[in-house]
Amino acid sequence: MADTSNADAFVEFERVQKSYDGENLVVKDLNLSMPKGEFLTMLGPSGSGKTTCLMMLAGFETATHGDIRLDGVSINNIPPHKRGIGMVFQNYALFPHMTVAENLSFPLEVRKMSKSDREAKVTRALGMVQMGDFAGRRPSQLSGGQQQRIALARALVFEPELVLMDEPLGALDKQLRETLQFEITKLAHDLGITVVYVTHDQTEALTMSDRVAVFDDGRIQQLAPPDKLYEEPENSFVAQFIGENNTLEGRVKEIKGGTALIELDSGELIDAQPVNVAAAGERTRVSIRPERVEYNKDRLSEDAHTLKAEVLEFIYMGDIFRTRLRVAGTDEFIIKTRNAPDVERLTPGQQIEIGWLPQDCRALDA
């Protein structure tokens, strides 16, 4: 996580801290290093410090402590307009008194580009976001999705190597958001630009990013590619925050050969992979993804520990079944099963036994 002084690093945060009031740290000891061309998402609940990090990178906030480097050069004292970083804002921030073309032309004008160059670049950027026909319109005459495309084109038109996006799709409806997610990732990869993307939507983070930095309480809780983040959360915050998750609380009974035996608070025993626990006797929170839970005994190994469960609710969701169980004293245990011909449909009140592969069950910090 803290791989500082990386020679390939394009964007680097080193021991960055930020406080607004001199009493509380909004960003506590941030270390981050990004290679060129990476699409990195900062994901976290509101108030976790992700937007502050973005603003420090853009230059609108100054770090209270630490160093921010861009391409090896410290940019702490460089004003925003000299950083050459493209930025897309949540509310688009298209200048309402200018047409689409004028908006796009603005960054080129302040760079004193010739008129013909400007026109060529504007046309190309508009083409990039399929908005070529809208050059003469005012932002107010565009829909939200169209405005966001223009905002994207404007952030790209002066060919920055780094583009920051601050919850750019937050105000759009679901379908549009999905289309634009795809377009943004594709553009970023085609152009080879480095993107720092801030969102609180975990689906967005997982589908778009090369790596995701999960923020909470002013720190990066985990920085990993999406699959790793989902499947191998390093602490219970990440496990809870990313995707749906079942949590059982208990105590480590023993750790043997890469597997921990956990005694749940209800007295039952389960196997788990020790992640954040070191020794027997420690309290732990065990995390299991709903789709990794098995109730078909044939698929479990002979010696696997199982738990008794009672079906409380069966929800038919089309492609999957979502079942709520009472397990080890909790009523909120969810399992998901694919809707396949051979899958048994459970009925409320049914008594079953559930189990899982030890590596799918992670013993995390309490």
């Binding site: 853009a58 307009h81 050459g84 930025m87 804002f89 960054p107 302040v110």
Partner: protein, 546 residues
């Protein structure tokens, strides 16, 4: 089949009427209710605001007073050609005598004098003097008639001669002390045809006594004017011998005697009252202002005057109003400009501060609103005068010498300083409310796109704040163009506005027509500027908030 009929022709509602009329009917109730809701205010505004303004504006062209007061004179004068350099005929003078005589009985001649005095100085005293002396002219005939026979002295005899028999009976029966109305005078028909002028004059007299003075006609002696009319009638040598009613003998006797009466030469008599009656100017002024409506006030308001050859500029030393209008516009522009310069940064700070601090500062901005305008202006008098706070401070700092203190008050500087201060909130408030709606992300976006602070402000922030500047400017400019109290108190002679002149004509010179004309021009200028602003900037671009 039904589809086909529906597709051709207007849309039909379910009951067969057109959809449009059916919709109108549905909306009528709503409209009616809306109208009822605003009706009280609408009526209030109409009665207390629009109607008085319309009435005032109408006064700027209204001029009935001349033809109402001097009806006979103005009729006869219509054919007179003043350019020939000759005085009007003696008939005109005789008509003038009649008109002034009646006017002075009704006490209207001084008002006419003041009216005409606006156009020609001295006319006011001329009319006042003539009003006092015109009675003497009539008494020449009155005395001769009364000397001829005592009959002419008595009002009863006059009534018997002039009134119809039925009226005489009513009048005798009428009890002076009772609440019943005095029977209205009716002329005797034979006398009306024999002595038309006398009858007409007596009727005016009778009407005046009965209706305006509310006196008993039986006890009032006729005006001297009636004797003059009788003389004129008798000189026409009517056939009075056929008349057999009351006073026929005396009438016949008078008929025989008038030839020997001393004659009044009206032109000479008027010249004796005042030589000005023999000045062509006076007569030309009366003739020029005879019509019921006049452009004279408006011409006056733009430093022109009516002349027999059409409108012409007044001499340079009498020109005042155009200069005042230009000064008013110029100073209002300067005040608007200084309000923008001072108000813009303040509004910007207010819009960018946290809400709590901004509210506190907003109170400071609004504070002037809560103190009396008079107090603030008086405070400026204290601050700005030669021995005032500002001069004292400057002298103490050594910026100006003690013997060359700055003249900051009773001139344009004083007006501009005080009015900028007073009107500043009207600039800051619309600016603030517009700036409040400009998200800070615009500036950030501009900077992230490579713009310097100044470029970001000038290219992105400023254009979006223009509607606020527009709204504030319109408010401040229109308010200042009609401002009165502050220029009156701190403006001295060089810092006053056209409104001060309007107020002067309303309350001091009582030339309401000119005041109305000046006001109408001011209104037109403001509306014209408003129109121009709409064409150039667009009124949609004005935002007072939100």
């Amino acid at each position: 089949m039904t589809d086909a009929t529906q597709n051709s022709g207007p849309m039909m509602a379910a009951d067969g009427t057109t959809l449009k009329s059916s919709l109108n009917r549905a909306l009528r109730r709503q409209k009616l209710r809306a109208l009822m809701l605003i009706a009280p205010l609408l009526i209030f505004v109409l009665v207390t605001f629009i109607a008085p303004i319309a009435d005032m504006l109408f006064r700027s062209v209204e001029n009935q007073i001349v033809s109402d007061t001097l009806p006979r004179t103005t009729t006869l004068l219509a054919d007179w050609d003043g350019d020939a350099g000759e005085l009007p005929s003696s008939e005109v003078f005789e008509a003038l005598y009649t008109d002034i005589f009646i006017a002075q009985e009704r006490k209207l001649h001084t008002r006419l004098g003041s009216r005409l005095n606006y156009e020609l100085t001295g006319v006011s005293s001329l009319f006042r003097k003539s009003g006092r002396k015109v009675e003497d002219m009539g008494e020449v005939y009155q005395d001769q008639f009364e000397d001829l026979d005592g009959f002419w002295k008595d009002s009863e005899n006059w009534n018997a001669l002039m009134g119809s028999d039925s009226w005489l009976a009513d009048q005798t029966a009428w009890d002076d002390k009772s609440d019943a109305r005095q029977p209205a005078f009716e002329p005797r028909e034979e006398i009306e045809s024999l002595l038309p002028q006398t009858a007409a004059t007596f009727e005016i007299f009778a009407d005046f006594v009965q209706n305006e003075d509310e006196d008993n006609l039986a006890k009032e002696d006729p005006w001297a004017l009636v004797y003059s009319a009788l003389y004129t009638d008798l000189m026409q040598e009517p056939d009075v011998s056929g008349y057999g009613g009351p006073g026929s003998a005396e009438l016949l006797q008078a008929m025989g005697a008038v030839g020997t009466f001393e004659n009044v030469d009206y032109p000479a008599a008027f010249e004796e009252i005042d030589k000005d009656w023999h000045s062509i100017d006076v007569w030309q002024t009366i003739q020029t202002y005879s019509p019921d409506f006049t452009s004279g006030y408006f011409l006056n308001a733009v430093d022109m005057k009516k002349s027999p050859d059409g409108p012409e500029m007044r001499p340079d030393n009498e020109q005042l109003y155009i200069k005042l209008f230009i000064r008013t516009l110029f100073m209002s522009l300067v005040i608007t400009g200084s309000c923008i310069l001072l108000g813009y940064p303040v509004a910007w700070i207010l819009a960018n501060l946290p809400a709590r601090t901004a509210n506190l500062l907003m109170i400071l901005v609004l504070l002037p609103f809560w103190t009396s305008l008079l107090v603030r202006t008086s405070a400026w008098k204290v601050m700005l005068q030669q021995q005032g706070v500002i001069n004292d401070t400057l002298v103490w700092l050594g910026v100006v010498a003690d013997d060359s203190r700055l003249a900051l008050i009773n001139n344009q500087t004083g007006t501009i300083i005080a009015m900028t201060h007073i009107l500043l909130p009207f600039m800051i408030l619309p600016l603030y409310s517009v700036m409040k709606t400009i998200p800070p992300s615009y500036l950030r976006a501009a900077k992230s796109l490579g713009a310097t602070n100044w470029t970001a402000f000038w290219r992105v922030y400023f254009p979006q704040s223009v509607p606020g500047i527009g709204a504030g400017s319109i408010l401040v400019f229109i308010l200042s163009i009609g401002y009165y109290i502050t220029p009156e108190l701190v403006g001295g002679t060089t810092g006053t506005f056209i409104s001060n002149r309007i107020a002067y004509h309303i309350s001091s010179s009582l030339n309401w027509g000119l005041a109305a004309a000046l006001g109408a021009i001011l209104l037109a200028v403001v509306l014209g500027l408003y129109w121009a602003y709409d064409r150039i900037v667009g009124i949609d671009n004005v935002k007072l908030g939100g």
